[in-house]
Symmetry: C2
Subunit: 408 residues, 2 copies
């Protein structure tokens, strides 16, 4: 056993980078890629992944939605490694693709180097980005996909998901989580934020995927002439929300603690004329934290501040995603593997959602982050240094070896 | 002379109200009216006014734009009384119409009751509301109308003003201010605000028409993922403007004094998604005061606060209208006439623009306000009690008599 660890699972860095560069040519746009779920480029990328799985000695199958599963032949227990190759419009070359390429690289490195009967299975989930239905592939894999939701789902242009599925022509097949076989899920991803780069750190060990709460706030005032109505006789719906926004900016850190983040991404005033006091105003406030109790406290504070405003205000929860803790033992293994290889680490939450959020409900799951240059993502400028890409894959490979050893 | 004053100019209140009700049937919409400048209903209303002028013994003429001028026959000097019969979309029955109907009523009452050679001329200006070009009629009357502006002007649907003029088919005629004849301009109007009603007062004596300054504020931040970017690493353009809006609400009263009013009528954040930190934000801030120096101080304060924000901000003046003082002697005469008739008064600025703003540059001009129910205007619910309508007309008539006596 100690021999296995010493020898490690040596990652072929140049091959990993070649895989990523080749995959990035499918749907390439400037320095990024665009592979919207079920688009011809998405289908082509999934075929490419299936071929690379086969070349790595995995048994590849594609399900009815396009999720590609590469099964380690001869193994009875396996670590699942994967992510997704679909992207947002004008997305980056690494978001999702990185986690799939890591799976391929580690499956290749693991061949013949893991305890008998133990393998690495690779997954490429469909539509994580929600072109039609966020995390469609992972929800189907865990058996949580709601048939009615599939029937309802449409893209922004109004195309029904059912039509997109029919057009893509994937096999009439399901691939499903197998609790007897699958011991853990590992997803590697670019950080999509600036913390690792700013701290000069190599690896993010994800403690939890944050919960998200999104409220629509509506203030009801009265339209008055902005020249003839004295200031103290107005019911200004816009100013009410400006006051609330400031209260949030001043108070949320104290209520939510250091880790909580929030955003006011949109606001609109009606009727919207320079010379009319706003009769109504609407804004969307989103906040995220790893603790549901913290999200509750933030919502409660927001509601009490809204109730203090001089005009009537409604607050409706329009989205609520619970926080998802990652498996602590997997986090410890990633951290130990990183430190043993000389990499520095940061325990950090994931501020964005991922397929690991879905998998974690059924299986011990862990996420590993590598630095994002400038913290940029969901844009063609998204990038990560090649050394960081290779280092992250080696840490994840070493993690797999540690898991296999302890599971064997 | 004292006899004239004692006898007064008795207004026929029921006739005044019948005129207003009849005029309100032209373009009637629910409880209001819609007579957009140059529309068939606007043209019909102007024909109706010309006929009523003729019935009152005035010599009526209509100019190329539709301004209707009723000239007191046999007078060599005259007080001008008037306003406009064009309206905003779904406007009120009194905005503009009141000042024209007062002119008709006072011209009728004045017949044979003023010193020899002195008369009341009545004006119904075109497009005060700016369907094509605000105060078109009064600008033409004073000789300030810019021919290039007429050529440029279009309504919201893109119709050129020149086409509207041709379609309306008014006579090829100018009516112009005559400095030898016209001694003063008096415009009566509903207050369009709540101050008279709230104070239980009868008459507003307008001290000045406020100046307006309008600035477009643009903040430049950076779009970041609202989940993965720590709060202290953001450049949030939206929050910068929320901070500025609060600074305005907290600080403008101290800078501008009791009379200044301001409004933030619109704001937009880009890209406008709940989960993206706003990259840019734009809002329009408008402020009004009777003093240009006060407007300068407010603009200076706004610019200094904007410069304090954590992201770059531009502020551009997109509209600048100078304050217009009303003639003090006319104000004194209105106040004296009101008090002599037992009416209570308030010296107050006009927060909205009126034709008197244009006339005041060439002629002593005064404005009289009557209460607006609920302060409402530019809406079909606009209304004023009949007693208030008649009382205001009597005060304006008594003012005319005082002017005629002192001018005779």
């Amino acid at each position: 056993m100690t021999d296995d660890l010493d020898r490690g699972l040596p990652i072929d860095g140049p091959q990993l980078l070649r895989d990523l560069r080749e995959l990035a040519t499918i749907g390439g746009v400037e320095t990024g890629v665009e592979r919207l779920a079920f688009s011809p480029d998405d289908v082509a990328a999934r075929r490419w992944v299936a071929a690379r799985m086969a070349a790595a000695g995995l048994e590849a199958s594609t399900d009815r939605y396009g999720t590609v599963y590469g099964r380690a032949v001869g193994a009875s227990r396996a670590v699942l490694i994967g992510s997704h190759t679909d992207t947002v419009p004008r997305g980056g070359w690494l978001d999702g693709a990185l986690g799939v390429a890591y799976g391929l690289a580690i499956a290749r490195a693991a061949a013949g180097r893991l305890p008998d009967g133990f393998g690495v299975d690779v997954l490429n989930f469909q539509d994580e980005e929600g072109t039609y239905l966020p995390c469609l592939g992972s929800l189907s894999f865990t058996g949580e996909l709601d048939d009615a939701a599939v029937t309802r789902a449409r893209d922004r242009a109004g195309t029904p998901l059912r039509d997109a599925i029919a057009r893509a022509g994937f096999p009439d097949l399901d691939v499903r989580l197998d609790p007897d076989r699958h011991v853990a899920f590992l997803e590697a991803h670019i950080e999509q934020g600036p913390r690792l780069e700013a701290g000069g750190l190599d690896i993010g060990v994800v403690t939890a995927i944050v919960g998200i709460r999104r409220l629509r706030i509506r203030a009801h005032g009265r339209a008055d002439h902005a020249g003839t109505t004295p200031m103290d006789m107005r019911a200004d719906a816009g100013m009410a929300l400006f006051r609330l926004a400031n209260r949030i900016a001043d108070g949320f850190a104290a209520v939510g603690g250091a880790g909580a983040v929030w955003n006011i991404g949109s606001i609109a005033l009606q009727p919207g004329a320079a010379n009319v006091v706003p009769a109504s105003a609407e804004m969307v406030v989103e906040f995220r934290d790893v603790s549901d109790a913290t999200l509750d406290r933030l919502e409660e504070a927001l509601r009490s501040w809204a109730a203090d405003l001089p005009v009537p205000v409604e607050a409706d929860v329009i989205a609520r995603i619970r926080p998802t803790p990652m498996d602590a033992r997997l986090g410890d293994a990633m951290e130990a593997a990183a430190h043993a290889g000389g990499a520095t680490t940061l325990r950090m939450p994931s501020g964005a959602g991922h397929d690991a959020m879905v998998l974690a409900r059924r299986l011990p799951s862990g996420m590993l982050f590598i630095p994002s240059i400038g913290g940029r993502s969901h844009d063609v400028v998204e990038d990560t240094a090649e050394d960081d890409i290779v280092r992250g894959c080696q840490v994840l490979a070493d993690t797999v070896l540690r898991l296999a050893r302890s599971a064997a």
